[in-house]
Symmetry: C2
Subunit: 222 residues, 2 copies
């Protein structure tokens, strides 16, 4: 759930949302998407509240009613992406499927979050742009996500579904390969997000699958 700090929005721990609060929440989401587009188009440093207001079809004054400033917008963009990634971890765990299958699902969701055009996910990589307090909260949430992925790798190794490995290093390698897609992916490129979200996790999980060390040599004679 997106955390709420602002007037005109749902309070944390409040009873069932009213029609007005639901509408306000939907408006906030629209604004976050508009902000993400501007962040991606212009870079976080160059993006201005005026431009974000224009993109969201609001007056600057109205934008400030929903969000205190650019930092808060960036924070909520990143927070939202991380929430989606945490949700994917929970959903995968709930299936109780083999570790490889869970991991593929999590990495595919991470890729969707990273490359999704609407959400403009490059924003979630630019933590450095946030002021200290907000950055700490994002870094903590990101670390929690990394820990959850690592725990799944560790469990897979213990159950011998995965080959022995350094789960921390492998987790960082997998997340690095996925995050790096934001650097090279082009919406007009030869592969769709769905194709990448199938093929890339497949390759990354294959590296964990137990295999005889001598296999490459045997394969030559296949």
């Amino acid at each position: 759930m997106v955390q709420i700090l602002n007037p005109g929005s749902i309070s944390a721990g409040a009873p069932a949302p009213t029609r007005t609060s639901r509408k306000s929440e939907a408006r906030r989401l629209e604004i976050l998407r508009a902000a993400a587009r501007v962040f991606r188009r212009r870079g976080v440093a160059a993006a201005g509240m005026r431009e974000i207001a224009e993109e969201a079809d609001l007056s600057p004054g109205n934008l400030y009613y929903y969000f205190r400033g650019k930092d808060e917008l960036l924070y909520f963009c990143q927070d939202r992406t991380l929430e989606q990634m945490h949700t994917a971890v929970e959903a995968a765990r709930a299936t109780a499927a083999p570790a490889a299958e869970q991991l593929r699902a999590i990495l595919a969701a991470h890729l969707q979050c990273t490359l999704d055009e609407l959400e403009g996910a490059t924003a979630h990589l630019e933590v450095e742009a946030l002021p200290d307090k907000l950055r700490r909260q994002i870094v903590e949430k990101r670390d929690g996500y990394e820990r959850a992925v690592r725990a799944l790798v560790t469990k897979g190794v213990k159950r011998r579904e995965f080959a022995p490995c350094d789960p921390a290093l492998v987790t960082r390698a997998m997340l690095g390969a996925v995050n790096w897609t934001a650097r090279w992916y082009r919406p007009d490129g030869s592969q769709s997000v769905e194709e990448i979200a199938r093929a890339l996790p497949d390759y990354l999980v294959r590296g964990l699958v137990p295999t005889a060390r001598s296999r490459p040599k045997q394969a030559k004679s296949c």
Copy 2:
């Protein structure tokens, strides 16, 4: 070989370097290392020629004798790193070893370049900071490196040393995982560059090794 543009240095295609030119070249390397340290400590945008001169133990005037400005320093830092990566590709090819072995050696060298403290390799990731003409040259060299790694993956698949895969995607995944280490590696962390340069390529190449698709399930009963 590092390209030379400046007075007081070796000309491209010149005969055997004289003692003076060798000395000048060594001085240029020392300056590049000092610049890389400053780029990494302060970020490229905030780094100044005065600070780089101080780090290199030179007067600013003397620094300008070797390099025209910050852009040229950044260009040569990146160019040098890429040269080392191209050299590693050539060296691996020359061994005519199995594709997996060649690939592990290339990725290990790439990691060394990325994490090496002296060379301060984060610089080679910040291409955006360069003016158009220099950026194009670096991007071209980087693309050439990526093509060479992709060609090796393709060859491995053709020879059945690697499982069928999308060589372009897998190459980007591998290089992404390696480049991403610059974001999380800490010299005072639990793993040395050498340990990472062994374990990470090993995991990344495992994902290419042919393996029966049913293997994960069989492994449970091991």
